[in-house]
Symmetry: C2
Subunit: 350 residues, 2 copies
DNA sequence: CTGTTAGCGCATTCAT
DNA sequence: ATGAATGCGCTAACAG
């Protein structure tokens, strides 16, 4: 006989404690926890409910996960959480998790490949049921091994050619085309694409290619250039900006993402250059402050929340066992026009 | 020779598989995993290492957590992840986690009390070993129950009077005093504090009080006002701004946090008001874009990363069993002076 | 409808 | 130095 039926405060109560308190079997408690009320008499149900309440019992998710083989956790690894883009995507993922009953573990690889690997390892060890990842560089390497494990995986903002997994992101061609056409319409002749190193990152190369294509199609007198810059190298940025400002043609800078846009805007300001007077300016990601910078900065707004939400929906389908070839969902971007791409002197052209 | 060195895709290998593959007991494998190499012969060690490699074995953290009663997870609940402040704090927490060997689960309660509760529940169920929280409203209610559980808890950016738990944040009096004195020095006579609803949120009330105190001390001709605004209510904001702009005195707006600062700046812009010409402007949180908005916005920079880091350090000490009364660490804020608080017309005053 | 039993993957006595 | 056995908290057959 248990000598002291005390409600132990020291130890967190378990399902066994509840069973004893309610004078029922553990199974019934388990059934209660899983909502199988059909197979529970009203009496038991109430007793259990009461016991749980008085004991302050909370089911141990670890144990459940261990037993059922499903942890109901998904992991998310973000290349750079300082980028508001990532935060917005994360919000979408989290909201979807909430709906689907998953717990999200977010990790910031802080643009370090090593950290990314470590987090991927960790998350795997914690037996997340799926992974949403916005990889730092070429995903092919590390991700392939994960993908081979059978662990569901969806990639954000990158196209991984050799990888058999779902992808969600922006329709970069459409967005870049839209933006470039706008610049051309506004009378800009030389378009300068400022981007972080393109490398194998599809979103960056797609944007660049679309830009070049549109400029090429415009023909005579139009030109495109690309400048790859490390976000931390402000000296190189300043150089590039100075050079660009000397251009004889009517020029515009097209920033490859929000982070780059910030740097460019800051750099131009330091150089005393104003937009659109001295140079046109346009960027991806349409950050909240875009309206405040000078006469406002034209930008391409991404449906970040939707992107995140869609990513998790894909993931859950995989977790639920759907089999299908790798899917790709590309959302359209929206052009938000502000002062930075204004025509020079109220001169309107056909 | 192993006939098929395939990495088994069907079932994830367990410690038992490793033991069999290495022809040792599970115990030895367990010892290996926990780095108890003292009690392992060189031979066994190598065999196990090899087996783990060929099997692609990854220790199940769930099982470990269940067995040892330590999940090595900590939870973080953030009131508003859209606020860059929170993101920066989170980065500090995450970095510290990394060092201390903890895994972080970040949740965004999105300013909804219900969500906050749900996440707190969830995290508890997942048996996180501690909690870092930046609560939405008055912490006392929900948090008390958690705190009573004995689950280590540290609160960020709020002072919870009736709660026996560690707190980390800004030295609001110092920071607000610093900023207000600056405004006064610059010749502003009427200081208008624009804040989200103060309610029970200590950081907000502390800032307001310090401001009022400094203004009162300045005496004759100086005045302070407080306007509480919901961040979503742009109409109310516009009204308040219009009224403020009519003031006969030389006025400045002091925004209670970065989010509010953004709204105020946007609102002023829409009203065609400029800083510092039409009104002075200063805000907490010194967002990255502050330099870009007009002639730049003066702000108070918080050591957000350090705040997060310190919070986790506190937490880990508690997890490690330290007993001490509730501690409070308040970091000083730094005043970043920009154009928005400039003297009106190069007129310098004593 | 209800309870008994047997593991999930691992760490930990306790023997050897 | 090594391994067999036990149980963490829970779910899932399998009886009644």
């Amino acid at each position: 006989m248990p000598p002291t039926p005390r409600t132990d405060t020291l130890r967190t109560p378990t399902i066994t404690d509840v069973a004893r308190e309610a004078k029922v079997g553990k199974t019934s408690v388990s059934r209660y926890l899983n909502g199988e009320f059909d197979s529970l008499s009203e009496a038991l149900r109430l007793r259990i409910q009461q016991a749980i309440r008085t004991l302050g019992f909370r089911p141990n998710q670890m144990a459940r996960g261990l037993k059922r083989g499903r942890t109901r956790m998904v992991g998310m690894v973000v290349a750079d959480i300082s980028n508001p883009y990532s935060v917005e995507v994360m919000r979408g993922v989290e909201a979807a998790c909430q709906k689907q009953g998953f717990m999200l573990m977010v990790c910031n690889s802080d643009n370090q490949l090593e950290l990314e690997k470590r987090y991927l390892d960790l998350l795997t060890n914690y037996r997340v049921e799926g992974l949403v990842i916005n990889p730092i560089g070429l995903p092919e390497e590390d991700l392939a091994s994960i993908s081979n494990t059978g662990l569901p995986l969806v990639i954000i903002d990158r196209r991984a050619v050799h990888l058999q997994c779902d992808m969600v992101g922006l329709d970069n061609r459409q967005a870049a085309t839209l933006a470039t056409q706008h610049l051309l319409q506004q009378g800009f002749q030389a378009i300068h694409f400022f981007t972080e190193p393109i490398g194998q990152i599809s979103s960056r190369s797609e944007r660049e290619q679309a830009l070049r294509q549109v400029v090429a199609a415009a023909g005579k007198g139009h030109s495109a250039s690309t400048t790859e810059l490390d976000v931390t190298d402000s000296a190189a940025l300043a150089d590039a900006l100075r050079k660009t400002l000397k251009s004889k043609k009517r020029s515009a800078i097209f920033a490859g993402n929000g982070r780059m846009l910030l740097n460019v805007a800051l750099g131009l300001q330091q150089l005393g250059a104003r937009w659109p007077e001295d140079i046109g300016l346009l960027g991806f990601d349409d950050p909240t402050w875009a309206a405040l910078a000078g006469s406002g900065i034209t930008g391409i707004r991404q449906p970040t929340f939707d992107i995140g939400h869609a990513a998790l929906d894909f993931l859950v389908q995989r977790i639920d066992g759907i089999v299908s070839p790798a899917r790709m969902q590309a959302f359209p971007g929206e052009l938000i026009i502000r002062g930075s791409t204004g025509s020079l002197k109220n001169v309107s052209e056909a």
